[in-house]
């Protein structure tokens, strides 16, 4: 029994990792007021780029770096369309998903099913990894898992306790107020979208170079959409992203575990979206909840400089 619990928890953390990384990215973009529905596409492109670079160079770190760059590049396209051209963010985001999926299919064709010789290594923390139960659950993972936690903490701190964080949040809440204090609103939005895209690319690279160690078309498997739901579930807060990512990761694992017991995996696959609705409902029902937990005030709205 203990074995099963340890195994479920271990795999929960692994399954939650890509969700955590990408959700942190989406939170940053949305906090600056830019809705990026292209996460599924960016993650796919990140996965394929990460795999190809890791495969050809034999270095998964280079794969991660390449995936981040591709994510930033793709999201800067989204930024150009939404920020500079002020087009509809939903349409642009959906188009980005298609584009990312297309690119990954095209680039990945020759690599389908080929195993990666060198996956992202595990981080061996001598002493900690040997602790029974806890060591297995928490201290026996690859670098991505620890990096994601570190990134999460750094982002939480930056958003909450630094001038940069105030700037980011203000740009999403009231860009005019930010502009009147001399903040370059559009530059902040670009940086936020690109940071978000970079993280999505990194999440994709995790899937292909650490999680499965191979590339397959459609391997992101809707995680990009879960990330959108998760961002809302987390109420746009990095702390909430931790909770949500591991919770949804756990549901992911349970889908496989409970299947032999006759529980429909479709039912469990539904849970992330259902629980997001429940969270929205709970906060929506109370007035103070609405106020404190609502989306960034100008999310999805293009900002016109000097407009009234």
């Amino acid at each position: 029994m203990l074995d099963i619990i340890v195994s479920v928890l271990t795999r929960t953390i692994i399954a939650g990792t890509p969700l955590l990384i990408a959700t942190l990215g989406e939170i940053i973009a949305e906090r600056a007021g830019i809705l990026n529905l292209g996460m599924e596409g960016i993650m796919s492109a990140g996965a394929v780029t990460g795999f190809i670079i890791a495969f050809t160079t034999g270095n998964p770190w280079l794969g991660m770096l390449a995936a981040i760059l591709v994510g930033m590049l793709l999201s800067s396209l989204h930024g150009f369309v939404c920020i500079t051209l002020r087009a509809n963010q939903v349409v642009s985001g959906l188009a980005l998903t298609m584009l990312g999926l297309g690119i990954s299919g095209l680039w990945g064709k020759p690599y389908i099913g080929r195993p990666l010789p060198q996956r992202m290594p595990r981080l061996d923390i001598s002493g900690l990894s040997d602790i029974p139960v806890l060591g297995d659950i928490f201290f026996n993972h690859d670098w991505y898992v620890y990096l994601s936690v570190l990134i999460g903490i750094v982002i939480w701190f930056l958003v909450k306790h630094t001038r940069m964080g105030i700037t980011l949040r203000s740009v999403g809440e009231n860009p005019k107020a930010a502009e009147s204090q001399g903040i370059p609103v559009n530059r902040v939005k670009y940086l936020a979208v690109m940071t978000g895209g970079g993280l999505a690319g990194m999440a994709g690279a995790f899937l292909s170079t650490a999680y499965s160690g191979s590339w397959n078309e459609g391997m992101v498997a809707g995680r990009g959409w879960i990330v959108i739901a998760l961002t809302i579930f987390a109420l746009w807060r990095p702390g909430g992203a931790f909770l949500g990512a591991y919770l949804f990761g756990g549901i992911f694992v349970l889908q496989f575990m409970l299947q032999p017991l006759g529980v429909s995996p479709n039912l469990l696959a539904m849970l992330p979206y259902l629980s997001t609705l429940v969270v929205l409902l709970i906060y929506g029902l109370s007035k103070s909840g609405q106020r404190r937990m609502s989306a960034p005030a100008t999310l999805g709205e293009p900002y016109v400089r000097g407009g009234r």
Binding site: H161, R163, I166, R169, E173, A177, E179, I183, R291
Partner: protein, 506 residues
Amino acid sequence: MDRIQSLEMRGISKSFQDVKANREINLTVSSGEILGLLGENGAGKTTLVNILYGLYHPDDGQILINGEPVRLRSPKDSMRAGIGMIHQHFMLVEKHTVLENIALGYAEAPFLFPQRSLRGRIRELSAQYGLDVDPDKPIWELSAGEQQRVEIIKALSRNADLLIMDEPTSVLTPQETDELFDILRKMTSGGHSVILISHKLEEIMDICNRVMVLRKGQVTGEARIEEVDKGKLAVMMIGRQIAAAYPKTDIDPGDAVLEITGLDVDSDRGLPAVRGLSLVVRRNEILGIAGVSGNGQQELVETITGLRQPLSGSVMMKGVPLDHADARKAHTLGITHVPEERIKYGIVPNLLLYENSVLKRHRDEPFSNWIQMNYAVIKDHAGKLVDGFNVDAPSINIRVKNLSGGNIQKLILGREISGGPDLLIAAHPTYGLDVGATEYVRKQIIELRDKGGAVLLVSEDLDELFMVCDRIAVMFEGRFMGQVTPDSCTIEEIGLMMAGSTLQEA
């Protein structure tokens, strides 16, 4: 940089397209002084201070601080020069705390934990000027007065010596206004200077040392406050001579169409806007409502047209009570409306011209039956409006947003009066229109009256009211100060009523 001892704007001109918003304006303000900037809406006050805050660039003229010419290309430049501005609509992030709002864009705040280090500075400023506010509260929990204090602290923390305040009291309760004035007095005794935009004469008399009056982009008067009184200010604001009225047939007004008794209405802020107001408008009559804007005219119009719920009192349209905010019912009873913000409330900018031509009536025969729009009839109607009301449009198949303001207004007016309404409510119908369109709109309003319609015309333009109306009521702080006929009153009387005296006192 040294503190601002004196600031001078010299020969400032600024045009937007063809409209001259500012013409050759000279302004000076020195340390320790409060300068009142007075004028109707559209007189150019906001343009002038936006130039000072670096938001607009003047076409001509220069700005000197302590005698040295400066260039203010952006708000950042102005802030650095010691100019702070408090907009009428606060520039605050509602969900953030006071501290976070003050830290936003504040160069002296440290990168890490900016909120913590600012707390001391805020406390210092609070104590010095009586700016009492809890630094850890989110903005949305604060009253309008407190939010304004946050804005003042924000400006002071950036070392603003000259504070520009755009209608600061429009959102405040009387008590909050007194508190604000105490703060301003403390600031000026400490060497700060203030430019206060207002159109409340009372306030200008109360707090300012000097006053400058703008009208149609030009300075029409400037005086030390001891040299003037409210009546004189009102006359400076509205101009000297009154234009002659349009020729109108003498018709005795008929039955009462709209009767309002004891109406009380609150503004969006929950402050009383209309107080115990009564009026009657009859057939063949144009009743004008004069007054400085913000004295409850907007709330009154919204109540009659079914957009705002009154607190008490009755609104009777042809004997039928309009007791709930219900725009549909108001329309069915024969009330039509030419709204103040025509683009926002008068049209749907992205719909085509012919679609806009039947708004509100689109559900009635013959424009539609129970399931279908009858586009043939609608287009025919639109064509008639375009011809009949001189709307200059290339086609009825274009989006209305592509029309000029004057043509949009003609279309709205045509739509509202073509059905022969019993009552037309027109709010500032010629605001921002060119001479030709203005004259056309006014003549159409008179024609409606001649045909038996009743008109309630709200305007800040006294010329317009005198040229068009049969009776004029002057509104001040939600009440009528008196009613006059255009041929039997003087501009001084109107001025005094606009400043809050009743007709008897005047």
